[in-house]
């Protein structure tokens, strides 16, 4: 029987394989886009019925029963991923010229969908690996070192997860979520699984999902991997793939929440394990945002920004309250759409100019007006300026942090927002305004498919910004209660209210007045645009700060002490040590002398003998 879920799951993969095998220009793009559109189409079609009737699907593969279910929560995640995936496909139609890319991009699409839809650990792990592998192959093509860094960390995460799964399997005898959940729920009272084992399983899962979500200190793969691939694909990579990590944390709550609570208890009236997650999120937000501010490369900047934004989601989930979940879930959506949009804008810029550094950019707003408009929406949304989707979700998270009585964490949110503002402002000015380098004079607007892709993500930014209730009411259904009140335009929480429509109207009126002033007010005169902004320092050759070059160098100097320590370098060193260890191991053990080899045999015999004698 062909089930809708199977179509949703495998349409991208099959389309990818077909596109790869045919490899005819034009046709492969068409097939790819169709394959990416099918899941979204089906999800939209199934939307009306999904709340009452979850759709189940299960297949037995080599003795394992893989179960998939489309329920309210998985629909939400799958829909977000499909939306970004479709945008990615449109973007790739322009930016990618290889069937190789199509194969692996669509393969990872299937992987992400599968992770969200799986209801048992075998399918979850299988598709998780598939997703990791496919995204890795996207990077491998362009940069071996970065891709291996990504893959090694991911695989360590995946294997940590596998061990955790295996331990759970050994303890509970089940691999499907429902049974595991039930057994662990019962076990919380009986305590057959010791606290130590629970801690190990929790730690392993934390590692696994932390890697994928890019939580500090496991984030080091993100900058390299996000920047060293096709930028349209990065929209999906950062927008949807990293959400798999966030989803994993949610899963942790669902499956093990009660058991973890029973094992670790509370800390300051707060679930201990959730506290850990919240702080991981908060640290990720702060560290990644600082690092993002200091980047000179657009791709690196957004890569760190992505890490930071996923940190928000973790933070929200770590609050442990339903409001926190609501905020986190909303942020999943809004981050996917604004960060996806950002990456597509970046893709357009790189495609049209071939440059990635801030110092080579400037004044592109006139040349690429539509792209600029899209970029502006993304910037507003990311910086958390109403009436964009980004504001609504951040506001919810903030409210949740306050009502959970975690002021330090709330402070991290604030700090993160401020820093986000700092880096997007630089992006906004350095790329779009100011003096245009002479070699960018004949830059053209991005091609149509890319524009479609951007529009696809920009519209939800606006719609969900103006009417956040659309999302929160669905989230209420996921969480099974009236968590966030209000109507389509108004959000009501225990501590505050946000009326998006009002804000929008105010904003529109304000903009109208400003426009009137601009048109009828003061006389404008054209002056040449130069870099006037020098941070109050005298301009010298060594200390030449402009918005395009070393803009935040003073900040970097202030943070010098902290920047000395880098997780990235630490991991590199560990890897180098492992390789040296491997070398000396094989040189010493396989030394080529058959007499040494005979000694190994004798030693084994000796061990056998001693074990027999003693």
């Amino acid at each position: 029987m062909i089930n809708e879920l199977m179509i949703i799951l495998f349409a991208p993969l099959i389309a990818g394989v077909v596109a790869w095998a045919l490899d005819i220009k034009g046709i492969r793009e068409a097939i790819g886009i169709i394959g990416a559109a099918i899941p979204l189409a089906y999800l939209v079609k199934l939307y009306p019925t999904i709340i009452e009737n979850p759709i189940d699907y299960s297949i037995t593969v080599s003795g394992f029963t893989l179960q998939f279910q489309l329920n309210t929560m998985s629909w939400y995640f799958a829909a977000v991923a499909s939306l970004v995936g479709l945008a990615m496909a449109f973007g790739m139609a322009v930016t990618s010229r290889e069937s190789y890319d199509w194969l692996f991009a669509l393969m990872s699409f299937t992987g992400v969908l599968g992770v969200f839809l799986s209801q048992d650990f075998v399918g979850f792990f299988l598709l998780w690996e598939l997703m990791t592998f496919a995204s890795f192959m996207m990077v491998l093509r362009r940069n071996r070192h970065e891709s291996l860094k990504y893959f090694v960390l991911s695989v360590i995460g995946a294997y940590a997860m596998l061990i955790a799964i295996g331990m759970l399997y050994a303890k509970t005898g089940a691999l499907d979520f429902a049974s595991i959940r039930q057994v662990l729920y019962m076990d919380a009272a009986m305590g057959t699984i010791t606290t130590r084992e629970t801690a190990i399983i929790f730690g392993l899962f934390l590692t696994a999902f932390g890697v994928k979500a890019g939580a500090v200190p496991l984030h080091v793969w993100a900058p390299g991997a996000y920047s060293e691939t096709d930028q349209s694909y990065t929209a999906f990579f950062s927008g949807a793939l990293s959400k798999a990590g966030a989803y994993g944390f949610l899963l942790l709550y669902i499956l093990m929440g009660y058991k973890l609570y029973a094992a670790f208890g509370t800390f300051h009236n707060h679930l201990t394990f959730a506290y850990i997650i919240a702080w991981i999120g908060a640290i990720t937000v702060v560290v990644a945002s600082f690092l993002a501010v200091l980047q000179e490369d657009i791709r690196k900047l957004f890569a760190y920004s992505s890490v930071g934004q996923v940190g928000y989601i973790l933070l929200a989930f770590g609050l442990g309250s339903t409001l926190g979940f609501a905020g986190g879930l909303f942020h999943v959506l809004s981050h996917a759409i604004f960060k996806g949009l950002f990456w597509l804008v970046t893709a357009a810029i790189i495609l049209q100019t071939g440059k990635t550094q801030f110092k080579d950019m400037g004044g592109l707003a006139e040349k690429m007006p539509f792209t600029f408009a899209m970029g502006l929406i993304a910037v507003l949304s990311l910086a958390g300026i109403p009436p964009m989707a980004g504001f609504a979700s951040k506001w919810l998270i903030y409210e949740a942090a306050i009502s959970a009585h975690m002021p330090l964490v709330a402070g991290a949110i604030f700090l993160g927002s401020a820093l986000a503002f700092a880096y997007v402002v630089r992006f906004l000015y350095a790329v779009w305004f100011g003096q245009r380098p002479s070699d960018l004079e004949d830059v053209k607007e991005a091609p149509l498919p890319l524009l479609i892709a951007m529009a696809l993500l920009a519209i939800p930014n606006l719609v969900f910004g103006v009417a956040p209730g659309l999302v929160t009411q669905y989230i209420n259904k996921i969480l099974g209660g009236e968590v966030v009140g209000g109507d389509y335009y108004k959000l009501v929480t225990p501590t505050g209210t946000y009326n998006a429509l009002l804000v929008t109207i105010a904003l529109v009126i304000g903009l109208a007045i400003a426009g009137l002033v601009y048109i009828y007010g003061a006389k404008t005169r054209k002056i040449p645009v130069t870099n006037t902004y020098q941070s109050g320092n005298p301009v010298t050759e060594e200390f030449n700060l402009s918005i395009r070059r070393n803009f935040y160098k003073p900040l970097a100097e202030a943070l010098e002490f902290w920047l000395k320590y880098s997780w990235d370098r630490f991991y590199e060193r560990v890897a180098g040590m492992a390789e040296d260890f491997a070398d000396s191991l094989r040189q010493a053990f396989y030394n080529g002398n058959v007499q040494s080899y005979s000694w190994y045999l004798a030693i084994v015999l000796l061990i056998l003998a001693l074990w027999g004698v003693l």
Binding site: A602, L605, L606, L608, A609, L610, G612, V613
Partner: protein, 235 residues
């Protein structure tokens, strides 16, 4: 020196361990299980008097097939490894007069003796392997005595292959006649020499197989000797 000392200590411990294991298998006690069956039934089931031969060729014929194969591999392997485009014997000195005359006189008899050994395998100690080795010894003597002597190794190779095939064919005939591989159809079905147990014309296919083995072992071992004695000569 340290190495020797360590080796000796290691080996002593291993030896002690082995001895401990062997203590559970006391020397000289009757622990026969399957062997007793062999001893009890060997005469009526195989017609051989020498139980070892019966076990080797008949009851555990598979082992012997494998054993022949091992020797065949060795001869093939040595041939493959020492194969060169053109090789000749390079011995300089002829054997002493005692050796040459002795060899001339003895070689045929040694071969005959070898043949005797393997033909009487089911009656007396010995059999295909020592018989074949004896034959090879004759060739060895010939090689040592004469600098130019060479066995006709092409023919020997062919004989080697042919007798090997003959062995398997005997087994396959058993499969065809009696339904079992290596089935002793001569004894079991034809009952050839049933009244003759203890004399030459008995023992089912044992003499046949031992003849095959004897020829095979003889040719193979002489082939190995031949291969090892010849050296590459540049042209």
């Amino acid at each position: 020196m340290l190495k020797r000392a360590l080796a000796i200590i290691t080996l002593l411990i291993i030896g002690y361990w082995l001895a401990q294991g062997l203590a559970g298998v006391p020397f000289g006690e009757d622990r026969m299980l399957v062997a007793q069956y062999y001893l009890d039934h060997v005469k009526e089931q195989t017609g051989a008097v020498n139980t070892v031969t019966a076990v080797v060729v008949n009851y555990r014929g598979f082992d012997t097939l494998g054993e022949v194969t091992v020797l065949f591999i060795a001869s093939t392997g040595v041939g493959a490894l020492l194969w060169r485009k053109k090789r000749e014997r390079t011995a300089k000195t002829e054997g002493s007069i005692v050796l040459t005359t002795g060899t001339r006189l003895l070689a045929p008899f040694i071969m005959l003796f070898g043949a005797y050994i393997f033909i009487h395998g089911h009656l007396t100690p010995g059999g295909g392997f020592p018989g074949g080795a004896t034959i090879a010894t004759a060739f060895l003597l010939l090689y040592m005595a004469f600098t130019v002597y060479e066995i006709p190794h092409k023919t020997f190779e062919k004989v080697e292959g042919a007798v090997g095939m003959a062995y398997v064919l005997v087994g396959l005939i058993g499969l065809a006649i009696g339904g079992y591989f290596l089935y002793d159809w001569i004894w079991q079905d034809w009952g050839f020499g049933v009244d003759n147990v203890g004399r030459l014309l008995s023992g089912g296919f044992i003499p046949v197989i031992y003849t095959i083995i004897g020829l095979k072992v003889g040719t193979e071992l002489s082939g190995i000797i031949d291969n090892m004695l010849k050296e590459e000569v540049s042209e």
